[in-house]
């Protein structure tokens, strides 16, 4: 298959179209504008619909509507816009509606800037909206992975009846790489729950309100039902990549753009005699805690590198649970990590002598 050179935003949009996304709703915000722009040109060609909403709140609720009738629907935005969508993300999760939401993160908090960032990790994996819910969260680190995970996101959204987030950033969205765009026959999953007119069948109900008379305890039961679904994801959907884990003495845990940079840092460190390795979570929820816990049994130290003030490091610490030392190196506010800085963080984290652990802590 021949490769084409595309930006991450375009690659994601084209992958979505090939995955059978027929309805796209969006609203302008940098650095993801190429997604709605591409969709506005492309979707009419395949009989799909592009709608520009009057706000991100409207866009995500349009996704809610389209998803309820059984369409593969998507929206995309960047950090401040994703913040506006949080209420309906909670509603989508509660109503068990499949949807794909793309966040090409930018520097925050507030209006922040338009530079790449990973500061929405907490918002994405801990449930940015209200209530007990989870999103299935993918964090691609290359444009080929953007393509593959976008297709997968639509399939998993339908399979689990859940909103799925693709957590990229300004680098992922804006950079260009050659990608293979597979011809896909989208896996069709029957949606007997969808609102399709109720002809010849009892009507379906999609709702997130459980307080009618006689529904005592129903919301609690609904939460347990969701919990079972999230547990199934934890069991079946964890994705990660390991680099040089076999003989590693120190391991970096990083996702997305930070992992690309960390990968180079690992090779440089190895050329200097530091036995470094990399664990790259591809799903952020479910989190690859078992692989990290297993590594923690063997390695001297774990360094978490993120483009934020230290968010995923909390999940790493939970996974490590005291088995080994964990330190953090990161830069917030749209600053991109450098290979040199990660190497130097590795150097200062490497044990200086037998039995002595002098750890680098940037926090």
């Amino acid at each position: 298959m021949s490769k084409v050179l595309l930006s991450g935003n375009e690659a994601l949009a084209e992958a979505a179209v090939r995955a059978g996304c027929k309805r796209y709703f969006g609203y302008p915000i940098t650095p993801q504008n190429e997604i709605p722009e591409y969709m506005s040109r492309r979707l009419p060609e395949v009989g799909g619909t592009f709608v520009q909403a009057e706000s991100e709140i409207a866009a995500i609720n349009m996704v809610f509507g389209a998803s309820a009738v059984g369409d593969r629907a998507m929206t995309s935005s960047s950090s401040p816009g994703i913040s506006l969508m949080q209420e309906t993300l909670s509603y989508l999760a509660a109503a068990e509606l499949p949807a794909v939401i793309v966040n090409m993160q930018r520097g925050g908090p507030g209006l922040g800037n338009i530079a790449p960032s990973q500061a929405d990790y907490f918002q994405a994996v801990k449930g940015g909206g209200h209530g007990d819910y989870k999103l299935l969260v993918y964090a691609p680190a290359s444009l080929q992975e953007v393509v593959n995970l976008t297709v997968q996101a639509f399939e998993k959204a339908d399979e689990y009846r859940t909103p799925v987030m693709i957590l990229g950033d300004g680098v992922i969205g804006q950079m260009m790489e050659p990608v293979e765009l597979p011809e896909i026959t989208p896996k069709r999953i029957e949606k007997p729950w969808a609102l399709t007119g109720a002809e010849g069948r009892p009507g379906n109900v999609i709702r997130s309100l459980f307080m009618l008379p006689g529904e005592d305890g129903m919301l609690e039961r609904h939460n347990y039902k969701l919990k079972i679904k999230y547990d199934r994801m934890v069991e079946n959907e964890v994705m990660h990549e390991s680099v040089h884990l076999e003989d590693a003495e120190i391991v970096i845990v990083a996702f997305g753009t930070a992992a690309r940079i960390a990968r180079t840092a690992v090779s440089i460190a190895r050329s200097q005699g530091i036995k470094a390795g990399l664990i790259r979570p591809i799903t952020l929820f479910p989190f690859p805690e078992q692989i990290i816990a297993a590594a923690a049994e063997r390695v001297e130290h774990i360094l978490v590198a993120e483009m934020n003030m230290g968010q995923m490091v909390e999940d790493v610490r939970l996974a490590v649970n005291g088995r080994t030392g964990v330190s953090f190196y990161g830069r917030p506010g749209g600053a991109v990590l450098t290979v040199e800085d990660i190497v130097s963080a590795l150097q200062s984290a490497v044990p200086r002598g037998a039995g002595q652990k002098k750890m680098h802590t940037v926090r």
Partner: protein, 318 residues
């Protein structure tokens, strides 16, 4: 609460002695209509003024920390919130006035582009107008989300080519007509609502003075050509705002406490809409064979809006 801003005639002579409250050195594009609009607005004010600014070109290009182009107190919060932020500031001012902690007569202005006003900021704007805050909301209207790369807004004219309503073989640009926000604001029964254009600075500044002197909330829509989004020459901003008025795409009118007045009626000199759209690259495809119907429809939209405006003046005029 309202106090009169003396309605003395605006003359160039008096203006030359006033300081521009939006300084040079901001990063708006060469030829942008918006800073011209803002300067004219601020020159019309004699009292201390506080600005609330929605996210957009004007906001992001004038406040790159540690620099600011504003010589007046200025606040930005979020995209959709300029009217709400201004409401909060004005409420605090009322409270401090009541307590006697502020003696000065101050004015409050919110600036937003059309995206931040017609679309995402509409709810906050409507709320502020209904509550009756003593503030003037000004929309500088360039008819698209120019800051993020020329996406369509509900202010984008019929037929225009933008990056999210691209003119292609299936769909020939934007198919909807523009939302008529000035009339919607007038329907809020605000004290003052008006449309203005920077080519007629005297009319624009007089309207700002009237708006700020009125007892209650006020709204002004001001056309602000954008050469990047309109695909025009950088020195055509004032010409294009003039043509917008002379073709009656952007009529100059005001609604004062329910009384409708058209400020400029070209009568038999009304220019065809093609004179305004021909120089603009965003309408280039309308002149391609097969799209004649769009030119006709555009003219029809303008004619109908103009006729209905004249009816409003006939019914609710002086």
């Amino acid at each position: 609460m309202s106090t009169t801003t003396k309605e003395k005639p605006v003359t160039l002579k008096t203006l030359t002695n006033k300081q521009d409250l939006l300084s040079g050195g901001h990063r708006m594009c060469a030829g942008c209509g918006a800073p011209t609009v803002v300067r004219q607005v601020l020159l019309a004010i004699d009292e201390p003024v506080v600005i609330s600014n929605a996210t957009g070109c004007l906001e992001v290009s004038t406040c790159l920390f540690p620099y600011t182009a504003w010589r007046v107190p200025w606040m930005h919060s979020a995209f959709e919130n300029a009217a709400a932020t201004a409401s909060g500031i004005e409420t605090m001012y009322r409270a401090l006035r009541k307590k006697g902690k502020i003696k000065k007569n101050m004015k409050f202005i919110a600036f937003g582009g059309d995206g931040g006003t017609y679309d995402i900021g509409f709810q906050a704007l409507s709320g502020a107008m209904e509550r009756g805050h003593q503030l003037l909301y000004i929309c500088y209207d360039n008819g698209a989300y120019m800051n993020t790369g020329i996406q369509r807004s509900s202010a984008t004219p019929f037929g225009a080519n933008t990056t999210t309503c691209p003119a292609g073989s299936k769909i020939p640009g934007k198919l909807q007509k523009r939302k008529d926000l000035t009339r919607i604001m007038a329907a809020h029964n605000v004290a003052y609502a008006a449309q203005a254009s920077p080519h007629n600075w005297r009319d624009l500044m007089t309207k700002v003075k009237k708006a700020l002197a009125s007892d209650g909330p006020a709204y002004m829509g001001i056309v602000a050509p954008c050469n990047r989004g309109w695909r025009t020459q950088t020195d055509d901003s004032i010409l294009l705002s003039r043509l917008a008025v002379e073709t009656c795409y952007w009529p100059l009118y005001e609604v004062e406490n329910g009384t409708w007045t058209i400020n400029y009626d070209p009568k038999d000199k009304k220019k065809p809409i093609t004179e305004w759209i021909k120089p603009q690259g965003r309408f280039k495809h309308l002149f391609a064979p097969g799209n004649e119907w769009m030119l006709e429809k555009f003219q029809q939209i303008v004619d109908e809006d103009w006729e209905s405006l004249k009816k409003l003046q006939g019914t609710f005029g002086r």
